[in-house]
C-alpha cells in the first residue's frame, strides 16, 4: 500500500508555522470540531510507546494503566512542550487522577483544560455536555486570545461528520481493501492528529487505490483500548487473521453518528453521547453486548479478540458480561493483555494462534 502519512511532528509544526495553535489531548472523548474552530490542532496522546517509563513513577502508582503512565512520562520528558494547552477529558478514575496531578502538582506554563463526559444519554446529559463544551470553548478562547466564530464551528462539525462517515466506510469495505491491517490502522489512526480535511483527503486517496483484498485470512473483531504495540497487526496477519470489525477506544468507539440538531453545541454533545456503546460513558452492559454481537455478525467476523491494556478498569468490568454474551450468541472470543511500550509478548501470539485454531 502506498499511502504517505505525514508525521505527527511535521503536522504540528506546519500548523504552528501557519499561525495555528496546538492542544495535546488525552483519551478518550472530546469535541474535535470545537478546537479546530479556534484554529487549534488537537493532537491525541495515547501513551506514546517510546516514552521513558521511569518518569511517571514520581507521580503515579504502578497499578495505573500504561496509556496514562506513558502519556505522563512523555509530558514530563518535554514531549508536549510545544503545545499551547493540555486537555484531559474525564473518562475514568485514572484520567481524573491525571487531570488533578497535572493541574495541582506539575509546574507548567500551559493551561490544563478538563471536560466532564456524562455517564448517561438522557436529554439532561446531552444538555449538560453541551454546556460543558461552552465552558471549554471559553477556556480555549482564553488561551488563544480569539473568539469563536460559530459559522466556522458549524463548518468544522460538518467536516467531522464527513470524517466519521469515511472511517465508517473504511470498515465497511475492509474486506475489499488490499492492504495489511497495520497499513489500514496507520491510516485510520492518523486521525489522532491530522486536520479533518487532510485526513479525509488521505483516506479518499487510500480507498481509491486499495482494492481487491487477496482474502484467505479469517475475519475477526478487535475490542479494547488501543492497538499498541502495532505489531499486533503483523502477528494477526502473520497467523492468518484479519480485523474486519473494530470496537477499540481509539477507533471504532469514536465513529460518531451525525446529529440532527441545528444547534452546534447539541450536535457536538450528541455526537459523543450517542456514539457507539462504550464502557467509559457507562453504557449498559446489555447495550455493549448487543453492539458487539451485532458488529461481529454484520462484519462477518468469526470471533472477537479482547485486546486489553492492563489496569483498565472500565474494560475489565465489562469483559465477563461481553464474553458471556458472545458465548450465548455462539461467538468465540479470547482475552489478551499488552502494555504500551512493551514488545508484543510471545504469550499473546501463542494465545492468538490457539484462538485461530478454534475459529478456523
Amino acid at each position: 500500500m502506498d499511502a504517505t502519512i505525514p508525521s505527527r511532528q511535521k503536522v504540528m509544526k506546519d500548523h504552528k508555522d501557519a499561525g495555528g495553535f496546538t492542544a495535546a489531548v488525552f483519551p478518550i472523548h472530546y469535541p474535535r470540531p470545537l478546537f479546530r474552530a479556534y484554529n487549534v490542532l488537537p493532537v491525541e496522546v495515547w501513551g506514546p510507546p517510546k516514552a521513558d517509563p521511569h518518569l511517571w513513577e514520581a507521580h503515579l502508582q504502578t497499578y495505573t494503566c500504561s496509556v496514562i503512565r506513558n502519556g505522563l512520562s512523555f509530558f514530563i520528558a518535554g514531549g508536549l512542550d510545544g503545545v499551547d494547552m493540555l486537555v484531559v477529558p474525564h473518562c475514568c478514575d485514572t484520567l481524573q487522577g491525571l487531570g488533578s496531578i497535572l493541574q495541582n502538582y506539575l509546574p507548567q506554563n500551559k493551561r490544563v483544560l478538563t471536560l466532564y463526559i456524562p455517564r448517561d444519554s438522557r436529554e439532561i446529559d446531552i444538555n449538560y455536555l453541551a454546556r460543558e463544551m461552552k465552558i471549554l470553548s471559553g477556556r480555549i478562547g482564553e488561551v488563544t486570545g480569539t473568539e469563536l466564530d460559530e459559522s466556522k464551528l458549524i463548518k468544522c462539525i460538518d467536516e467531522e461528520d464527513r470524517s466519521n462517515a469515511i472511517v465508517g466506510r473504511m470498515f465497511q469495505q475492509r474486506t475489499q481493501l488490499s492492504c495489511s491491517d497495520r497499513e489500514f490502522y496507520e491510516i485510520i489512526r492518523s486521525r489522532e492528529y491530522l486536520p479533518a480535511d487532510a485526513f479525509i483527503t488521505l483516506v479518499e486517496g487510500f480507498m481509491a487505490r486499495a482494492k481487491n483484498q487477496d482474502g484467505g485470512r479469517i475475519p475477526v473483531v478487535i475490542s479494547g483500548i488501543i492497538p499498541e504495540p502495532m505489531d499486533i497487526f503483523n502477528s494477526l496477519n502473520g497467523i492468518g487473521l484479519t480485523v474486519v470489525g473494530d470496537d477499540l477506544f481509539t477507533t471504532g468507539r469514536r465513529i460518531y453518528s451525525r446529529s440532527d440538531s441545528t444547534d452546534p453545541w447539541t450536535r457536538m454533545s450528541e455526537m459523543i453521547i450517542k456514539g457507539p456503546p462504550d464502557s467509559t460513558r457507562g453504557n449498559f452492559l446489555t447495550n455493549r453486548v448487543k453492539y458487539l454481537v451485532d458488529l461481529t455478525k454484520e462484519s462477518g467476523a468469526r470471533g472477537v479478540i479482547f485486546y486489553h491494556v492492563k489496569f483498565c478498569e472500565p474494560e475489565q468490568f465489562y469483559y465477563p458480561a461481553l464474553k458471556k454474551g458472545l458465548e450465548n450468541a455462539g461467538i468465540p472470543s479470547v482475552l489478551v493483555e499488552a502494555e504500551i511500550g512493551d514488545p508484543l509478548p510471545g504469550q499473546v501470539v501463542t494465545r492468538l494462534e490457539a484462538f485461530k485454531e478454534v475459529i478456523s
Binding site: 514520581a58 507521580h59 503515579l60 502508582q61 497499578y63 495505573t64 474525564h90 475514568c92 478514575d93 485514572t94 481524573q96 487522577g97 491525571l98 487531570g99 488533578s100 496531578i101 493541574q103 495541582n104 502538582y105 478538563t114 466532564y116 456524562p118 455517564r119 448517561d120 438522557r122 439532561i124 446529559d125 449538560y128 454546556r131 460543558e132 465552558i135 464502557s279 457507562g282 449498559f284 452492559l285 446489555t286 492492563k310 489496569f311 478498569e313 472500565p314 475489565q316 468490568f317 465489562y318 469483559y319 465477563p320 458480561a321 464474553k323
Partner: protein, 452 residues
C-alpha cells in the same frame, strides 16, 4: 405483604431478634464492667458504647435478612443521596459496608475468588469483587442479604460503583439509578448543581415508581433533619479528637462511622451518636486517651486496611502513637458538612432542598481534586496538632490513591510533615505484605521521632 409474612417478620425481627440483640448488648455492657483480662495496656478499654454499636449494626443486618419480605429494598453506595430513598421507606443496604464486614471477617479472598472465576480481574476493587462473589455464591458473614428492588449509586466516590452496580443490575434484573456527579477540579458551579439536581428529580420518579408511592415533603424533611443531625453529631465526635490525648482513635472511628453510612436519615444514628458524644466527653474529662501513653498523633488517609485494623492499632499504640484523624472518617466533614449545616430544614420547598442535596453530595472529598485533598490534610494536621501522615496507597481505590505520591512529596518537602506511603489494599490481604509494611512503618516512626 401478606398477613402471614407480616406476622412472621415481626416475630423473627421485632420480637425474637430484637430481644436477643438487646440481651447481647446488655450482656456486653455487663461484661465491660469488669476489667478485660487480655486488655492491651497500650490501648484504652473498649468504648462502653461498643455493645450498642454492635446491637445497631446487627439489628440493621437482621432487618436486612428479612427486609425483602416486607418492604422495598435498595442497595446503595456510601456517598449516595440516600435521603430520597429513606423518605420512601426503603430498606437500604450498603454493599461497601458489607464489604468491610467481609474484610474484617477475612472472607474476601474466598468471595473474591468466585468473582475472579467469573472473569473479574483481580486488579478491580476488592469491595466490588467480594460483593459480586457474595451475590453469586450467596455466602455472607451476615447470614443473608435481601434481594434489591432498586440499585442506587452515585459516582461521587468513584467510577467503579457505576460498573459494579451495572453488573448488579444485570444480575438482579432491577432498575438502576445512577447519580452522576461531575468531578470537581476547581469549584462547584451552578451548572453542576443543576445537573445533579435534575438527576435527583429523575431518581425520585424512578424510586417512587418502584416503591409504588410518592415522596412526601413532610417525610423527606423528617429524614433530612435526621441526616443533618447525624452528620453534625458525627463531626462533633471527630472534633473532640482534637483534644490531647485523643479520646478515640481513627481505628475506633472506622467502626463508629457505620451508622453515618448505613443509617443516615434515621433516628437510630442520631440517638447513637448523642450517646457516643457523652461518652467521649467523659473520656476527655477523665483524661482517658485512646492510646494510654499518647506521645505522637497521626493522620490516616484513605480507607482502612480492614483485615489489619487491630494489628495497626496495637503496633502504633505500643510506640505511643495515636491516629487521631482520618480523611476517610471525615468524608461527611469539610465543605460537605458546611453545606449540610447550612440547609434550612424548615423550608417547605422541595426545589431548594434538592439543590442543597445536590450541592452537598457534589462536595464529597473524593469528588474533588487531589490538591483539594492535600489542603484538607494540611488543615487537619494543623487543627488536630498531628506529627505525621500515613497515606494508605490503596490498590483497590484509584480515586483516593492517585495523587498521593505528590501529596507525600508536598507534605514532606514543602511542609516538613513526616509522611509515609503504605502499600496495601483495603480488603484483599493478598495485596498486602505485612513484613514490608511493618518495616516501612518502623522507618516512618524513626523519622517522626527524629523530627525536632
Amino acid at each position: 405483604m401478606s398477613i402471614l409474612s407480616a406476622v412472621s417478620f415481626n416475630w423473627k425481627v421485632n420480637v425474637l431478634g430484637k430481644a436477643f440483640l438487646r440481651f447481647e448488648r446488655r450482656r456486653g455492657e455487663w461484661k465491660m464492667r469488669k476489667p478485660y483480662k487480655k486488655q492491651n495496656p497500650n490501648l484504652a478499654p473498649l468504648l462502653k458504647s461498643v455493645p450498642y454499636l454492635k446491637e445497631l449494626i446487627s439489628t440493621h443486618y437482621l432487618h436486612g435478612r428479612y427486609a425483602d419480605t416486607h418492604k422495598k429494598v435498595a442497595w446503595v453506595t456510601s456517598g449516595a443521596p440516600v435521603e430520597i430513598l429513606k423518605a420512601l421507606d426503603y430498606f437500604t443496604l450498603y454493599p461497601e459496608n458489607h464489604g468491610a464486614v467481609c474484610g474484617v471477617r477475612r472472607q474476601v479472598v474466598e468471595l473474591s475468588g468466585v468473582a475472579e472465576n467469573m472473569g473479574y480481574n483481580r486488579d478491580l476493587c476488592s469491595y466490588a469483587r467480594g460483593d459480586l462473589g457474595s451475590v453469586v455464591s450467596g455466602k455472607t458473614p451476615v447470614g443473608r442479604l435481601p434481594k434489591p428492588d432498586l440499585l442506587f449509586c452515585c459516582t461521587n466516590i468513584c467510577q467503579t460503583v457505576m460498573y459494579w452496580y451495572q453488573v448488579l443490575a444485570d444480575h438482579f434484573k432491577v432498575p438502576l439509578i445512577m447519580i452522576d456527579t461531575p468531578f470537581i477540579y476547581d469549584k462547584v458551579t451552578e451548572h453542576e448543581i443543576e445537573y445533579v439536581k435534575k438527576q435527583l428529580e429523575y431518581a425520585i420518579a424512578t424510586a417512587e415508581r418502584v416503591a409504588g408511592k410518592s415522596i412526601s415533603l413532610k417525610q423527606y424533611k423528617k429524614v433530612g433533619i435526621y441526616a443533618k443531625d447525624a452528620v453534625l453529631l458525627w463531626n462533633e465526635i471527630l472534633d473532640l479528637c482534637k483534644h490531647r490525648p485523643s479520646p478515640i482513635s481513627a481505628f475506633d472511628q472506622f467502626f463508629y462511622m457505620a451508622p453515618i453510612v448505613d443509617m443516615r436519615g434515621e433516628d437510630h444514628a442520631v440517638k447513637f451518636y448523642t450517646q457516643v458524644i457523652a461518652e467521649v466527653k467523659q473520656r476527655i474529662a477523665d483524661g482517658v486517651g485512646a492510646v494510654t501513653n499518647e506521645r505522637k498523633r497521626l493522620l490516616w488517609d484513605n480507607l482502612p486496611i480492614w483485615y489489619e485494623v487491630r494489628r495497626f492499632a496495637e503496633v502504633l499504640a505500643e510506640k505511643g502513637y495515636c491516629i487521631a484523624a482520618s480523611t476517610y472518617t471525615h468524608a461527611w466533614g469539610g465543605d460537605m458538612k458546611h453545606i449540610i449545616e447550612s440547609i434550612d430544614t424548615t423550608k417547605d420547598d422541595m426545589d431548594y432542598l434538592l439543590s442543597m442535596l445536590a450541592s452537598a453530595y457534589l462536595h464529597a472529598i473524593l469528588n474533588q481534586s487531589s490538591g483539594y485533598k492535600l489542603n484538607v490534610m494540611l488543615k487537619m494536621v494543623k487543627e488536630y496538632d498531628l506529627d505525621g501522615v500515613i497515606l494508605h496507597n490503596n490498590r483497590s481505590c484509584k480515586p483516593y490513591s492517585l495523587g498521593q505520591i505528590d501529596q507525600r512529596d508536598r507534605l514532606m518537602n514543602e511542609y516538613g510533615i513526616p509522611t509515609i506511603l503504605l502499600e496495601a489494599d483495603h480488603n484483599d490481604p493478598r495485596s498486602f505484605s505485612e513484613e514490608q509494611a511493618m518495616n516501612r512503618l518502623a522507618a516512618f516512626i524513626e523519622i517522626v521521632e527524629n523530627k525536632k
